[in-house]
Symmetry: C2
Amino acid sequence: MLETITSTKNPKVKYALCLRDRRDRDESGEFLIEGYRELYRATHAHVAIDTLFTCEEHFLGTNEPALIAAIQKSGAKIYSCAPQVFDKLSYRDRPDGLLAIAKQMKTALNDLADRLAAKKHPPLLVVAEAIEKPGNLGTILRSSDAVAADGVIVCDRCTDIYNPNVVRASTGTLFTLPVIEADGESTLKWLQERNIAIAAATPHAEAEFTAVDLTGPLAIVVGTEQLGLSDLWMRHATLKMRIPMLGVADSLNVATATTLLLYEALRQRR
Amino acid sequence: MLETITSTKNPKVKYALCLRDRRDRDESGEFLIEGYRELYRATHAHVAIDTLFTCEEHFLGTNEPALIAAIQKSGAKIYSCAPQVFDKLSYRDRPDGLLAIAKQMKTALNDLADRLAAKKHPPLLVVAEAIEKPGNLGTILRSSDAVAADGVIVCDRCTDIYNPNVVRASTGTLFTLPVIEADGESTLKWLQERNIAIAAATPHAEAEFTAVDLTGPLAIVVGTEQLGLSDLWMRHATLKMRIPMLGVADSLNVATATTLLLYEALRQRR
């Protein structure tokens, strides 16, 4: 028999709502995961789920009980919520009746190093510097997963990777891909020590991105929406390339530009 | 001497706030344009601006007076707002002190036909069906501008193209690119009459998008975030192609996928 929550004043509910704030996420080391697909991917990636809130009235399919059972077996506490309670917890337009509190994963550059050492192909990484919009960061993760990139390093973060909208826009690929938060200087040094080329897209480059050799060990570096890459990365970029811009606008959305570069690397590598 | 607005209860301010709602936009035939870059592009594209709200305290540069003068010359009424009034009007994180009410452009398929007839190259169009998120629709416009596509047809709209977040995510390319709202059946017929190939991305296609000939007259058709393309378009697609998905996720963000296809068409055409 599941414990049922009928009040939005329940302390577990209040705690979950706090985790929408970055400060509370940073302090607690926990974060929210909402949605069947996201939780399915988190569970398969062995993310430690502490608490699961469910709301049967919102379930969309028939697979929910199996997922809930798996999460319960992993040690999580499960609560059934009245719809008005779940709707308060949910940050989606269409809640699907599943929302969890989980422990942050805290992958480090060294973990990534071990992973790269085990691979046979030249590494393909993304360095995302100071991205502001969670939707953009999530989309970068989703596209990095799509090309089977080896990892994403989030440098000098503006938006933390545990922001609920990063989880959502990533469709849970945050859990299936190595994602590391690090500072710019350490990341640069780490890449240089491993002879990983630093590729930057800039309107001032001569070569178009489809004409640059992207088949070697490569980190595609992209910068903040407003200002682009910082001087640190522009100065140390070993490959510079241009995305053709034939209209009036002078740049693409950052997640979109990252995806173009990733798929061009993939096209050249196959 | 500009008229100054110091109260958020001013009727002009109230009217502008109404235009955040789609129903009020539909009824009035007007919409909001915020931001220097967006207004600059709208002005150059001869979008009819009715009212301009300014707030000098928020100006970021030195070019604002010239733009305001140009907008005033075009016949718009200009109001200077106290910061607390402008902050209420603004829907941005960082207001830059310029927000206008403008007339909707209402471009039709026939206008697009005239435009295509005047071009020498095979047309490249985007058909965006029932996109829900304004940010995605705006990004599709921004990328379509970037490859100098001949137009975007928004079919069976969920989000209207005059949604403030479409304007913002498009960075004003909504004004520089022909953007048409139409129903799916009319659009399909219009494309078929002109022998424009209908290209759909689907995970079930054999060929990868980089292996399909995209150099002829082409409409890239993309569907809603949740469900993808409707049966109407899947049935009538003349080119089907697949974007490789090598990770756990089974699809890309819709704006991202559209951009990949557009740039692949561009790569092949150059």
